[in-house]
Structures are given as structure tokens and as C-alpha cells.
């Protein structure tokens, strides 16, 4: 763990029991180092932290009142620095969530990224997408 990079995480939720519980889970994790750069409950506060602290990962519990899902995504795709985003909602079912990864790449990386997508053997989901190969 000492050599692992420190991951900066922002938590966005208006539910204190969720945000504080998640904060504790992440900081107690033994496999990686986490720095919580913010625990906020509104979209505006989240945008401020994202602009100043540039978190590697933002976990959003949207409720569409204090934290609006659509507004958050619109803001997310406008920026450019590398970041991962997890969107979930305590108000919706526990089995629903979305993840996004934003990163800049050079054209050659786009090619390799597409190749890895088109090449079934490179994907761990290949068996799911090609059921005939299993027959």
C-alpha cells in the first residue's frame, strides 16, 4: 500500500449516513490509499470541489432535488481532465447505477481502444457477446 498512488475521491450526497459511511469505508480500505477531497451535498458545492481539487473519482448519490442527475452529467462531459464518475441513487433501486470514465487520448490510443473493443478475444465479456462460440 505505501507505494500505491493516492486516489482523490469526492463524495456527493445529501444523505449523511451514506456519505459518512462511504467515507469511512474508503479511508479504511487496506489495498489502496484514498484522500477524500470533499463530502458535499449540492451540485454547486460539487462543481467547486471538482474544479479546485480535481478528484480522480466522484461518487454521486443523486436525488434530483439537491443533486440533479442530468445537470451533473452535462457538467461532467464539458470538462476534460481524467476522471471517473459513479452515479447512483438511494431513492431508486439498489441494483441500479451508472459509471463514466473521462480521459483524453491521442489518435493512436483511439485506434487501440477501438481495436480492443472490436477484438472479441481481448474482452473479458467476449463469451457473453458471442454465444455461438461456446456451442
Amino acid at each position: 500500500m505505501p507505494n500505491s498512488p493516492v486516489r482523490k475521491v469526492l463524495i456527493v450526497s445529501s444523505h449523511a449516513l451514506f456519505s459518512k459511511g462511504l467515507q469511512q469505508l474508503l479511508t479504511q480500505h487496506t489495498n489502496y490509499q484514498v484522500q477524500i477531497v470533499g463530502v458535499v451535498s449540492t451540485l454547486e458545492a460539487a462543481q467547486q470541489v471538482m474544479a479546485t481539487q480535481t478528484p480522480d473519482l466522484t461518487i454521486v448519490d443523486y436525488d434530483d432535488e439537491q443533486v440533479n442527475r442530468r445537470e451533473f452529467i452535462e457538467q461532467f462531459i464539458q470538462d476534460e481532465q481524467q476522471q471517473r464518475l459513479v452515479l447512483l441513487s438511494l431513492q431508486e433501486g439498489g441494483d441500479q447505477g451508472m459509471v463514466y470514465e473521462r480521459r483524453q487520448v491521442v489518435p493512436s490510443q483511439i485506434d487501440s481502444w477501438l481495436e480492443s473493443w472490436f477484438e472479441p478475444s481481448s474482452s473479458k465479456f467476449s463469451s457473453s457477446f458471442h454465444p455461438k462460440t461456446q456451442e
Binding site: H15, L17, F18, K20, G21, L22, L25, L90, Q91, G94
Partner: protein
């Protein structure tokens, strides 16, 4: 040292459940002895572990929290149950209370508040999120007033209140999302129950009996 309170946590959000258990483990007075992600699992865990208290989400797949509380109570299980939810919907709140839940707390509560409410529920007291208290009080008043005076239904009181605001049948129908014919039926029954013949008489009598507020 007194015995720890043995808790079961029921919530379909795995991340929330894990975080909550982590928070509860901060308190030396508590021991989480089981967890479940839906009501059906919860019934098994509660039957096996026989906890001192259950923290229960409302909206869950397979079997929701209200149905789970109902099932437990019908089976004679008296374990204290504190609902822990994001739902502020009336049907969830009143459904849980009617089913036999001992408390209803929102997930925006602070950990210390939860700790205190767990102790209160375990001691046989009822707890309610401050945001919801007013709604419950209003509901109690609205149910009691007609019963003690004119037996008007909640909907008839709502129609009366709209009448007192000066609205005609069409406007009342729009305000309450019902048809004009339904409004007319409500008004006819209001007249019968209040023993009046005109709208102004009905409004006047309703205000006298504190069934509605004077429209400002």
C-alpha cells in the same frame, strides 16, 4: 459493561449497507449480527439471529419494508424496528407506522442522531425524523376533527378548503385532479353532512367548526 445491542441491517443498496455497518461499528454499544438486502432475506436473518433491533429500508425488491414489518408483526414478532429510508412519501411513512414500525428516520440523519434514536427505539420509545413530525401531526388532526364533528372525509375537507378560496367547481376539479362531476358529488355530500343548502353556508359552518382555515 452492559451487553451490546445486537442489530440487523436491511437495505438493498450494498454500498449504503456496508457504510452504515461501518459507522455502527464505531459505536461500542452496538454489534451488527446480520444483514439482508430484501425483506424475504430479512425474515430469515431476524428469525435466526433474534436481534435486539432492526434497521429497515422501505423500498426494496422482492419484499419491501412495510410488507416485511407487517409479516413480522402478524407472526407475533415484537422486535423493535426503526425504518431508515430516503422516502418521505405519505404511503411509506403511514404504511410503516400502521404496519407496526417503531420509528421512521430519514437517511439524511447524522450518525449521532441515529445512535440516539436506536437507543430510544430499543427502550420502547417511538422516533420520527423532525422533517416528518409536522406531517404526522396534521394527519392526526385531519382524521380526528371530522370524526368528532361532522364526519366529513379528508377529500370533502379539501373540497371545502378550495371552496373557501373562492374557486368554482371547475377550478376545484383542476386543483384536486378530479372530475367536475366528482366535485359536485363531494359538494352534495358536504351539504348533507353539514345540513346546509348553499356554498357560503357550508364555508361559514366549516370555519365555525374549525374544519378548514379561513382563506387569507
Amino acid at each position: 459493561m452492559p451487553r451490546k445491542l445486537r442489530l440487523v441491517v436491511v437495505d438493498d443498496h450494498a454500498l449504503f449497507r456496508a457504510g452504515l455497518i461501518s459507522l455502527l461499528n464505531n459505536f461500542p454499544e452496538f454489534e451488527v449480527v446480520g444483514e439482508a438486502e430484501d425483506g424475504r432475506q430479512a425474515l430469515k436473518v431476524i428469525h435466526t439471529q433474534m436481534p435486539d433491533l432492526v434497521l429497515m429500508d422501505v423500498n426494496m425488491p422482492i419484499m419491501d419494508g412495510v410488507k416485511t414489518v407487517t409479516t413480522l408483526r402478524q407472526a407475533g414478532n415484537k422486535v423493535p424496528i426503526l425504518m431508515l429510508t430516503v422516502s418521505q412519501r405519505d404511503e411509506d411513512l403511514f404504511g410503516a407506522i400502521a404496519a407496526g414500525a417503531d420509528g421512521y428516520l430519514l437517511k439524511n440523519a447524522e450518525p449521532e442522531e441515529l445512535r440516539s434514536d436506536i437507543f430510544n427505539v430499543a427502550a420502547g420509545k417511538g422516533v420520527l425524523s423532525p422533517e416528518l413530525t409536522k406531517r404526522v401531526l396534521h394527519a392526526v388532526v385531519r382524521r380526528q376533527v371530522p370524526a368528532t364533528s361532522s364526519n366529513l372525509s379528508e377529500r370533502e375537507i379539501e373540497v371545502l378548503q378550495e371552496m373557501a378560496r373562492g374557486k368554482n367547481t371547475s377550478a376545484i376539479a383542476k386543483a384536486l385532479f378530479i372530475s367536475e362531476n366528482t366535485v359536485k358529488t363531494h359538494i352534495r355530500r358536504i351539504f348533507e353532512k353539514l345540513d346546509v343548502h348553499t356554498r357560503s353556508e357550508a364555508i361559514s359552518k366549516a370555519i365555525q367548526q374549525n374544519l378548514i382555515r379561513k382563506s387569507g
